[in-house]
């Protein structure tokens, strides 16, 4: 159980986190999503006690990060964004060091090491110096380091960054496997990653949470925004002009123009009405209709829309 209440973190004059609050229950897996520099890593650094909060309260399994950082550290396995490896050490020596530093000894250490080596697929490189490993194996070693003491909570900062597609799938499935018994927070700026790994997602932008919930919920909250996609056999100018004039259409963007067919996307809050109007318009002008649809909002679109709304809200307040 991780509880974050009104967490604020300043780096000098820069506010990296601005009063965020959320909770992660036991055995929940949470995806942190946001553009680079949004505050994902900062939030994780505070939860892992690497940084102290400027304001607000964070507790991990009941331990407060300011009052009892050692208690928090015992519960957490952490893979920072800059994978922390002593590259001049051998993989097995490094894992032993991490295990011992986490208080493991003798048989417990040996059995835990065996487990993480198997889980992370490190058997082949155990006797190699870390500096000789490929990026994928380095990342796995970092993950093994975070797992060695069997922590209840795993904090993974961009665990799949810089890996090739095959390695990404491996790491993802490992995370899903671990999620059965651990509480996990992981961050990413790749949207697809969240939908393929977890249901619960928090979207952070400019140090604020702009969405928190299940992916389906976030989509539903944005259901007032729809897109209508239309491919019409007419000239580009007339399509753009006439469609923009339909009531309820907030914007027209050109997707492409192929063989006399113009494809556009319309932003609107009244999808059904607009679809009908587009149909009527096509009949009236005798345009060929190649496509007329209202695709569901992808996570990508939802994300862009949410970030756009936050930025617009800010401008409205300042303006």
């Amino acid at each position: 159980m991780i509880r974050v209440e009104k967490l604020t973190k300043d780096y000098g004059p820069t506010r990296a986190l601005d009063g965020i609050s959320f909770e992660v229950k036991d055995r929940q897996i949470l995806g942190f999503l946001g553009p680079n520099g949004a505050g994902k890593s900062t939030a994780m650094k505070v939860i892992t006690t690497y940084l102290a909060p400027t304001d607000g309260q964070v507790t991990v399994e009941g331990h407060d990060v300011t009052k009892d950082p050692i208690g928090v550290r015992r519960k957490i396995g952490y893979l920072p964004e800059t994978n922390p490896l002593y590259t001049d050490m051998r993989v097995d020596d490094f894992l032993d060091f991490c295990g011992q530093a986490r208080g493991l000894r003798g048989n417990t250490l040996a059995s835990r090491r065996k487990f993480v080596v198997e889980a992370c697929g490190l058997g082949r490189v155990l006797k190699k110096n870390i500096i000789e490993l490929s990026k994928g194996f380095k990342q796995r070693t970092g993950l093994a380091q975070a797992l060695i003491h069997d922590p209840k909570i795993l904090i993974l900062d961009e665990p799949t960054s810089g890996l090739d597609p095959l390695q990404i799938i491996e790491i993802r499935s490992l995370i899903q496997q671990l999620a059965q018994e651990k509480t996990i927070i992981f961050s990413t700026h790749i949207l697809q990653e969240v939908s393929s790994t977890t249901d619960r997602v928090i979207i952070i932008n400019n140090g604020k949470i702009i969405a928190d919930g299940f992916i389906s919920e976030i989509r539903r909250d944005l259901s007032d925004v729809t897109q209508v996609r239309a491919a019409l056999g007419a000239s580009r100018d007339s399509v753009e002009r006439e469609l923009a004039a339909i009531s309820g259409v907030e914007g027209v963007s050109l997707v492409g123009e192929v063989n006399g067919s113009v494809t556009v996307e319309l932003r609107t809050s009244r999808g059904q009405d607009v679809m009908k109007s587009v149909g009527e318009l096509a009949v009236k002008n005798q345009w060929a209709v190649h496509e007329l649809s209202s695709p569901t909002l992808s996570l990508e679109d939802a994300f862009i829309e949410l970030v756009r709304r936050q930025t617009m809200g800010k401008e409205a307040r300042h303006g």
């Binding site: 920072p80 922390p84 002593y86 530093a101």
Partner: protein, 241 residues
């Protein structure tokens, strides 16, 4: 104690993971012993006075090189984040790293043991003075290494850490020097001799080397080392805010 030892062992081993440790030791032994031997044959005395007299100057360069890596490397490759989220107190990690550097320096000193052995074989040196000399050298090293580990914590770049700790150590060496103290006294009366007595290390070191192992001299080295280790711990804790 457990966690100090775990950090100590990793740091001490990592000295020997690269050939630099061996090069360091060889250069240290060649310079200190070689320098001494030329003087030895010139003077023909069975004592180590010139050895211990030159050692602070060698240490000014040698010891910052031993400590420059200790934190700067962690700052650079990101292992800092792992170390600082281990369930250990910061000062345990500081002590583990510090003791590793001290042990490495001790190893270097141990290598010069051939000199007193040779002396006993060809003459009858004053063993008391030699033991006191070694004690002084060890304390001096403890001080320089504490300065070095503190400075290393402030930088990402090892070379910068090396140069800055050399300058800081040199400051403590210089203000203890009699000529420097007199010059400073000439500018502002009393300041030079005050610095020489309470801040500079040269007089304390020279006292011990002469066999005057008095409490004041011990306190100077121990408290100066402790001061920089505390500063190192505070700097580590402070970076969280």
């Amino acid at each position: 104690m457990g966690s100090v030892f775990i950090i100590f062992r990793r740091e001490f081993r990592s000295y020997f993971d690269s050939p630099i440790a061996y090069i360091f030791l060889i250069v240290f032994l060649l310079l200190t012993a070689g320098w001494y031997m030329t003087a030895f044959f010139l003077m023909g005395n069975a004592d180590m006075r010139s050895f211990f007299g030159n050692l602070p100057l060698f240490n000014l360069f040698f010891l910052p090189a031993v400590t420059m890596r200790l934190w700067a490397e962690d700052n650079r490759i990101g292992t800092m984040e792992m170390l600082m989220t281990l369930p250990m107190k910061s000062w345990h990690i500081v002590m583990g790293k510090y003791l590793a550097s001290l042990a490495f320096y001790g190893l270097g000193l141990l290598g010069t043991i051939t000199i007193p052995i040779t002396l006993t074989m060809i003459g009858s040196p004053d063993m008391g003075a030699i033991v006191a000399g070694y004690l002084g050298s060890f304390l001096l090293g403890a001080f320089f290494l504490a300065v070095g580990i503190f400075v290393s914590g402030l930088f990402k770049d090892q070379i910068t850490a090396f140069v800055v700790s050399l300058i800081v150590c040199f400051f403590f060496y210089l203000v203890g020097d009699g000529t420097v103290a007199q010059t400073v006294d000439g500018w502002v009366s009393g300041v030079g001799s005050f610095l020489q007595r309470f801040v500079g290390l040269t007089t304390h070191y020279a006292d011990i080397q002469r066999g005057v192992v008095d409490l004041r001299n011990l306190i100077y080295f121990v408290s100066m080392s402790a001061l920089f280790l505390v500063l190192n711990t505070l700097a580590l804790e402070g970076r969280r805010y």
